[in-house]
């Protein structure tokens, strides 16, 4: 079957004050339609750079990105994108923030609201349409950010540590909430996280990246039945996977520590 998204041998070399830094080396991912795929790896392994490349915000040094077999390398607007920072515009109400993607595509305010309001109602933001982002809690802001991404109507969602800044309790709630949305909308999700539990709980497949330069170190399939409850996190199957992933990640530890906050973090979302 045709993969929804293929990352084919992508490498990225940055030149910083004369020295060349390899952020990504020969990364290949195959992501079938409708799957939930996670990427974990140490800080500075270039996860954000990879996302920026997939989103078309920066160009790879070599390799290409295929969506449904078509080359979309360097093209924007093919994926829905979400970061740890909610990036809600403080001068817009929650509703108008969620409608941002639709507005850019030329929807009128009324049409956009017709689409957004039922979603807000259904996914825990009912009654907050006219609140400003500063009046929302961290979890609700992330909900709004995800609904904004969702309303952009792309089949593929890139989520870059979306729950990284939330407290543990809220994070659990949000994970369940995300799974519900994923099931409801049949999206293909590519999810970056630092959190091993989160990656296992949410995904079908976990890609483990090594520290700089980022390479695919291992691909781990998670065959835990869906729908999953939070209790699955205490099962022996879960523990076995966690052990495996921890082992894989700790192999690269000494190297990983020294490169924290490198190119991957600085790459940000700059176009």
């Amino acid at each position: 079957m045709q993969d929804k998204l293929e990352v084919v041998q992508v490498s990225k070399v940055f030149t910083k004050s004369g020295t060349q830094v390899t952020a990504l080396e020969d990364i290949s991912l195959e992501i079938p339609k409708g799957r939930f795929i996670s990427i974990i790896g140490p800080s500075g392994c270039g996860k954000s750079t990879l996302f920026n490349i997939i989103a078309g915000l920066i160009k790879p040094s070599s390799g290409c990105i295929l969506e449904d077999g078509k080359d979309i390398t360097g093209q924007r607007g093919h994926v829905g994108y979400m970061l740890q920072k909610d990036l809600l515009l403080p001068w817009r109400t929650t509703l108008k923030n969620i409608n941002l993607g639709l507005e850019i595509r030329g929807y009128g305010a009324k049409q956009a609201a017709e689409r957004a309001l039922p979603l807000m109602q259904r996914y825990g933001l009912g009654g907050f349409e006219h609140s400003y982002p500063r009046e929302l809690s961290g979890g609700m802001r992330q909900r709004a950010a995800l609904l904004r991404t969702l309303l952009y109507d792309r089949d593929l969602l890139l989520l870059d540590e979306p729950f990284g800044a939330l407290d543990a309790q809220t994070r659990l709630t949000m994970q369940g909430w995300l799974l519900q949305i994923w099931a409801d909308f049949h999206k293909t999700v590519l999810f970056v996280t630092h959190d091993i539990d989160e990656s296992i709980y949410l995904s079908d497949v976990v890609y483990v990246l090594s520290g700089r330069p980022g390479r695919v170190k291992a691909v781990v399939a998670v065959d835990i039945e869906r729908p999953r409850s939070q209790l699955v996190m205490t099962s022996s199957q879960f523990m076995k996977l966690k052990h495996e992933l921890l082992t894989l990640l700790s192999e690269g530890e000494p190297q990983a520590d020294s490169v924290d906050g490198g190119v991957g973090a600085q790459g940000g979302l700059h176009a």
Partner: protein
């Protein structure tokens, strides 16, 4: 707020009525009362200081503790003011000066904001322009006044031009500060949503920079007034500045004082108007900028 309980009164021990809710209610009421009292006292204090100042001025001048020839006195100032208001050209002068100030301010702020915001479009353009902007900002633009008067004549135009010259660079620099502080991730997010550069500019860059631009309004209105008055000092047939200059030349110090008082009132009114506009423009923005 402590609820006082009479010792030995078992009534107070058993009754749940004056619980924390009740006592905090009393507390809130009392707090509000203190706040209101403070407000009243503040206003009373301000009026008192003003009256005291005017009273002393009048008294010292009357008993020649200060020379009334130079320092005048409030009663003479009011009398002179009343006279020029009804038998002179004071109203026209006020209209002339405030017109030049407001027009210069609007032009300066608009053009300045446009210049500052335009730097978002090209980093090269911004970096080339930056040192010149900083230099122009440091340059005492009032030095240009004689040239502007020759260039634009002694009428309204040269006053507007000076008010404009004093405000435009300040605003441009403020707007540029806003542009530089725009969250790059936010721009990236909009691009990832398929936005054009123009959409990023209008939906993110302009509103983001608004607080920076608007916060320069208060300084700019004062600068614009100074520009208009200096323009009138250089050469003019009208305006409060010209009136002051004329009065000084004929040693009519009462009239000079009238001019100064009028300018003070004008400056205060404009400041209040600008503050109100600021509040209106920044509705919906988080307090404290950004």
């Amino acid at each position: 707020m402590t609820t006082r309980v009479a010792p030995g009164s078992d009534d107070a021990l058993t009754a749940p009525a004056p619980g924390p809710g009740a006592s905090s209610q009393i507390g809130a009421d009392e707090e509000e009362l203190t706040a209101r009292r403070l407000r009243t006292r503040t206003i009373a204090g301000r009026v008192l200081v003003g009256l005291l100042f005017i009273g002393c001025w009048e008294l010292f001048s009357s008993v020649h503790l200060i020379d009334p020839f130079y320092w005048s006195k409030p009663s003479s100032i009011v009398a002179t003011g009343w006279n020029v208001l009804w038998h002179g050209t004071l109203l026209l002068d006020i209209a002339f000066t405030s017109g030049a100030t407001i027009l210069g301010f609007i032009l300066g702020v608009t053009v300045g904001a446009a210049i500052g915001l335009s730097f978002w479009w090209s980093r090269l353009y911004a970096w080339v322009a930056e040192p010149y902007l900083v230099m122009l900002n440091a340059l005492p633009k009032l030095g240009l006044a004689p040239i502007l008067v020759v260039l634009l004549g002694i009428g309204f135009g040269s006053k507007v031009a000076l008010a404009f010259a004093l405000t435009v660079i300040v605003t441009a620099l403020s707007a540029y500060g806003g542009v530089r502080s725009v969250d790059r991730d936010l721009e990236g997010l909009l691009y990832s949503l398929g936005a054009s550069r123009w959409q990023v500019f209008s939906k993110v860059v302009v509103p983001w920079s608004m607080p920076w631009i608007v916060n320069s309004f208060r300084i700019n209105i004062a600068l614009a007034l100074a520009g208009a008055i200096v323009g009138e000092f250089i050469a003019s047939r009208q305006g409060v500045g010209r009136m002051i200059l004329y009065a000084g030349q004929v040693l009519d110090h009462n009239l000079v004082w009238v001019g100064v008082v009028v300018l003070g009132v004008l400056a205060m009114l404009m400041y209040m108007a600008v503050a109100a506009i600021e509040k209106w423009l920044l509705k919906g923005f988080e307090t404290g900028g950004a």
